[in-house]
Symmetry: C2
Amino acid sequence: MTQELFASYSFLLDRTARKVKHYAQQQFKFGKFDVTVDQWLVLKNLAERPQVSQTELAQLVLKDHPTLTRIIDLLSKKGLVQRVQHPQDRRSFQLHLTAKGENKVAALKPRILEIREKAWENLTESDFHEFKRILNTIYQNLDTNSGV
Amino acid sequence: MTQELFASYSFLLDRTARKVKHYAQQQFKFGKFDVTVDQWLVLKNLAERPQVSQTELAQLVLKDHPTLTRIIDLLSKKGLVQRVQHPQDRRSFQLHLTAKGENKVAALKPRILEIREKAWENLTESDFHEFKRILNTIYQNLDTNSGV
DNA sequence: TACCAATAGTTAGTGTGACAAATATATGAA
DNA sequence: TTCATATATTTGTCACACTAACTATTGGTA
């Protein structure tokens, strides 16, 4: 494959990723979800794994620690998440959803699946698998932590 | 296709786009390119289309006006780009590369193609076309300005 | 001529991302 | 015990995305 051929993939990838995020954010706003897309990602992971530490959560959602700190700050200001001291390790927090947070996740989850579905009009299930395979291959090609 | 199946595409898309950008940015830093990935995108487009206005350029690189304003500010601080008053329309600027900017583009272009190539190891040319097709379909599905 | 909608660009506010450095705490070795 | 090192989190800085509001200018129209 020549260099010229795929010189544009990063542009297409970036613009599509931004479009997806932007579209979701618009829908969130329109539906008065009162969270951002990134805040939702954190909430969803917390719902699935209560009691995780910030470090564990940062790995799950692939955000760095400073970014996660700020997102947790915002979510706890909104009363959706609480930091609780780890019983053994006083450096660490255990994060968990408040009752309000649980309700938020339950209420939003189905609506967000609907929003996500929109992107796949005119595409098949095998397109989806191809897409996933290529994305993951690219990711691994550039991931210096994996394998090499 | 069920909802659950593709619930994760946005996460994969986002993480891959960030990995691609991050990888490029690391290489830029390591090679002392002294520009960010987004600044490079602007420089490259300016090299191909001298004399564009900021509005035209914003459409080419898919950035909004405030973002482009700041990127141009940064590039002109570095002495790579100049704003010149449009001869007829005093609201508008014509952007062009300085000699230093031209040299920068010429020097970096081949090195950046190499960096971009890394992502496509273990993938075929038809993977690339599939990928492009799916990305563009998703983009159009979510683009409220197109068609509908 | 006077008005007014549209256009070009800038500024400000909020949220996020990467990175470096600082703080606090924990842990293992001498 | 004490010191070096590692871990968990926070803070600060710079860059970018998006929205909204603003200035200045242009061009059409009453």
